[in-house]
Symmetry: C2
């Protein structure tokens, strides 16, 4: 049944409540509760600086509920001079389960510090131009995954009132705090493991999908670093994520004379292992294979796939760094290395 | 190398530009460009209603650039009475590549209609309580994936000024436009396919992960519907996503007397196929297998996995529905069925 977007009739529903004539304001709440607008603001914004009696608080909350009033975050931030909004541009690269968990964790931690996290959609402008679009929302902090933001973008954000700009990527950017996710540690772990297993002619798969260079280049570098000064050699193997390309690489595999391969990640490992198997290349006897990411599929492959597991710090640690930076916007940008890696040795290497 | 969050010293950088004393305002831009604040506002907000000469426009843009001024979206929306912000709460379920592409596409389409798309982070409040948090940002439209929002949440959003609330899920909610993603079509396609292949005792895997019931229940229903009035039977197979549970199910497979299984999706198919293979169950001779989602891994399995491919409408169609709803907030909520499904028959069924 191919897709068609059809409008379908609704089953008759009870009549919806008549729409209110206008959006309720804090003045309406004040009138109904019999208090001043300032009192409404103190109660609904949970200001602890002002003492307000419990019955008054209750009256304000009940009036707000009755009218369906919710505070206006933007108006509040205009009054306060800054918002509690932490803006996180959606990453432009495909997101794996590790990063997804990490982001969920971070958002929870920022939420418990009373920040509102919004992710800014992709598909819009890029680089410093994107920074201007983000600045229009006047976030108090911006957490930028991946690369792409330059020092000019950081300056635009700061001039618009952002107290902290934090990048989460392979490099430091002038003016911004950096959580360095240096993927060379992943390649380094894979290279050392293969060397320790006695392998000396090591291939490294380099995906050809746009957006992955920021990860694949440092992973390749890491393998090179781990083998520097040894008798091992490294061969770069460009590979798009499709079966035909994998079959083509597998067909000339024996002429390459490799005894091991680091496949960038577990999904590329599955792709290449299938193609090598179809060519009769024995794993790990002829060629050892190691992936990265520790996906479930690696445990389901035969031989079971060795992999590099990535580790990220807890969301709480990063949320506290953001909070510290917001409170002391004048301090020097900090740089933290945040990516760890562990080899899980299974049957393929 | 296990993870440690270490602060590392920065390489000395050139001194950063001194932070400006304060955030530049449109008044600063007006002063530098020698025009009124209203003119600045007309130019930077691209108002077509007012004619402004090209040299004046250029002067305003240059002054804004020199001062690093960007308009304040919130202030603008306070003046206009509404924003151009479309808020999309981040889904609480794990997102596959299909949904990710769909969301990117939709965001691009909304962006080209001059909406700003923000995704609201997960990990915060749930249900109608979440609706209050979203309302604080005063979006002009809210697009809610999954279930969880009730009629009260819709009412809160509308009272806060949201002109359109659109749900993207398995059911219609009173007061909201509904893009019905009714997953019964997926199960229906799988069930019909297995029946047409001559199978009569059909198992349906039901994942045990929280958050997946909204998809797994209608998929199971769809299989049942497709076989209603025939001589085929349906058996529900609860299965958590882990190897031990799969091995346990496979060990008692032959006692279940099934000749086919729809595995909910391709990842569960891989999990169960591995376990069945380890038990010596021949696929498809003894048991036909079909997954869903058309992931790459299905093509790499042996036998190659049959699957149900899901289809969603283009982002442009949905963006236009949102835009229409924003322009005519008084009209009756619309319901559209948006999920399509096609069987890709390979070797496993």
């Amino acid at each position: 049944m191919p897709y068609v977007m059809v409008q379908i009739p609704r089953t008759p529903a009870p009549p919806s409540p008549a729409p209110s004539r206008s959006v309720p304001t804090s003045a309406d709440v004040a009138r109904l509760a019999g208090v001043s607008r300032a009192t409404v603001s103190y109660v609904l914004n949970n200001t602890s600086a002002v003492r307000i009696s419990e019955p008054t608080r209750r009256r304000v909350h009940e009036a707000a509920k009755e009218l369906g009033y919710v505070p206006h975050a933007a108006a509040r931030s205009l009054r306060a001079g800054h918002s509690r909004m932490v803006l996180i541009p959606a990453p432009t690269f495909p997101v794996g389960p590790l990063y997804h968990r990490f982001l969920t964790d971070l958002q929870g931690a920022l939420g418990s510090l009373d920040y509102t996290v919004v992710q800014y959609g992709t598909g819009g402008p890029h680089g410093d131009e994107a920074a201007r679009a983000w600045a229009e929302l006047r976030p108090v902090a911006v957490l930028v995954p991946g690369s792409g933001l330059g020092p000019r973008g950081v300056a635009v954000l700061k001039r618009s009132g952002a107290r902290a700009v934090v990048t989460l990527g392979p490099e430091t950017i002038e003016g911004a705090h950096a959580l360095l996710m240096d993927h060379d540690v992943v390649g380094h772990s894979a290279g050392s493991h293969l060397y320790d297993r006695g392998r000396r002619r090591i291939g490294v798969v380099v995906p050809q999908e746009p957006g992955l260079e920021a990860f694949s280049a440092p992973r390749l570098d890491g393998v090179r670093q781990s083998l520097r000064g040894t008798d091992a050699t490294v061969a770069e193997l460009p590979l798009p994520y499709d079966e035909e390309a994998a079959a083509h690489l597998a067909a000339r595999w024996r002429s390459l004379g490799l005894d091991a391969v680091f496949t960038y990640n577990d999904e590329y490992a599955m792709l290449l292992m299938r193609a090598l198997e179809d060519e009769g290349v024995r794993i790990p006897e002829e060629t050892a294979v190691i992936g990265a990411d520790d996906l479930m599929l690696g445990r389901l492959l035969r031989p079971r796939l060795s992999t590099v597991r990535l580790e990220l710090p807890s969301g709480r640690e990063l949320a506290e760094l953001v909070d510290r930076a917001v409170r002391k916007p004048g301090t020097e940008p900090e740089t933290h290395k945040v990516l760890g890696a562990t080899v899980l040795h299974r049957e393929s290497s």
